[in-house]
Amino acid sequence: MNGDIDVLLVEDNPDDAEFTLRALRKANVALRIALVEDGVQALEFVFGTGGFAQRAGATLPRVVLLDLKLPKVDGLEVLRRIKGDPRTRALPTVMLTSSRERRDIQACYMAGANSYIVKPVEYAELIAKLGDLVRYWLQLNEPPPG
């Protein structure tokens, strides 16, 4: 019933990816995390196409952490495709971005984002926020029936 992946992290900046991975592991060492680096890969992973064709029919990750500013297809477009497809509409998708811009926040919620987290500049804060996030989405929250 549980899939093979807990968290799909979509992050193009390798430094940010490293911090986020470390912070996620700090929250839960056993977490199974997949990392993709652009919007196209994110969509292929979720829909089991292209480079991730072997994932076709695989159970969806428990939560997607999605950066906004991504190469090729940006985070907002990835979000729209996930929320626009009946197969993936229920997939909890959390925006994880450095943008605190009103229009970004608004656009993400309008597109169906489940949550919007601003990446803090302080590493300690990032660890605290991601710890809460892991506890909420992977322990507290009841996932959509797969």
Binding site: D16, E18, K69, S98, S99, K119, V121, Y123, A124
Partner: protein, 354 residues
Amino acid sequence: MATTALSSRRYRALTAMDFLFRLLKRVSPRVAALDAGNAELREQVQRLEAANAALEGTNAMLEGRVSDSGVEAGRARDQLQQEILDRRRTEQSLRYSETLLRRLHEDLEDHITERTRELTRTIGELESFSYSISHDLRAPLRAINGFAAILREEHAERLDADGDALLMKIETNAAKMAQLIDGLLDFSRLARAESMSTEVDMEALARAVAAELAGDDAGRRAAIEIAALPKVVGDEPMLRQVWMNLLSNALKFSAPATVARIVVSGETGDGEAVFHVRDNGVGFDMAYAEKLFGVFNRLHRADEFPGVGVGLALTRRIVLRHGGRIWAESRPGEGAAFHFALPVAAGRRGGPAA
């Protein structure tokens, strides 16, 4: 019965006489008036006859002049034609001016539309500029902070005291850069913020800000006295920021004073409300008074007083946006006085921020 008949006949005769008498009385003034009118008419006839004679004389004279008049009439006709021509020309030039004016007006409107478009574009660029600052500058900063934190956490045992001190410097500088970026963002956000004008109770606002600051370390050691302040029309959140910046500045630069004393006062006069914030802090040299309000300009070393130098620049921007002015006076060691004036009636005037 007979007596009655007689008397009734007499009565009728009397009544008829009475009627005649009254009629006569009424008619006679009219007859008199008619007589007078007759005399007047006769006089008029006489006058007319005289006039007629005179006219006849004139006629004869005119007949003699007819030949001359023909020439004059021709001249008058020419003059009239000239006048008509002139008038037509005037009309034409008037119509031309009208067209010109209309075209100028259209040009002006086009110009305004174009400038508005340019301005909108500039605002858009500013917006994407601040957007890219928030994204692009914060990312490397997060990396510096993050790696420094990991170094401290996971490699602490391999760091000696010197290494630890160096790491601390990296962290302090990263924190300062974060403040600078936030300050810049605040600044550009203000430039494109829509302002909402309402009546603002400046005294209540200043008191609320003072109460908030009283919770801070510096605030606890200071006495902030606030006198009665005039009300103004303006954007309350922005004006709140003005008080926040001026009062926290006063507190900050009063820190070395044994008893920090800050006095806030204000009055209305000459179409503006003027406010004063005076402190007994370190003050500043008037030679640098102009530099006070520039972005990232500081008059003190960062290790003397914290801050990145955005507060007063922001304060000035807000005051200018309200159509007001701000200035400061001081002497080193003798405290500082900051003054700002806001127009009283024209608080809605949201001129372009300088």
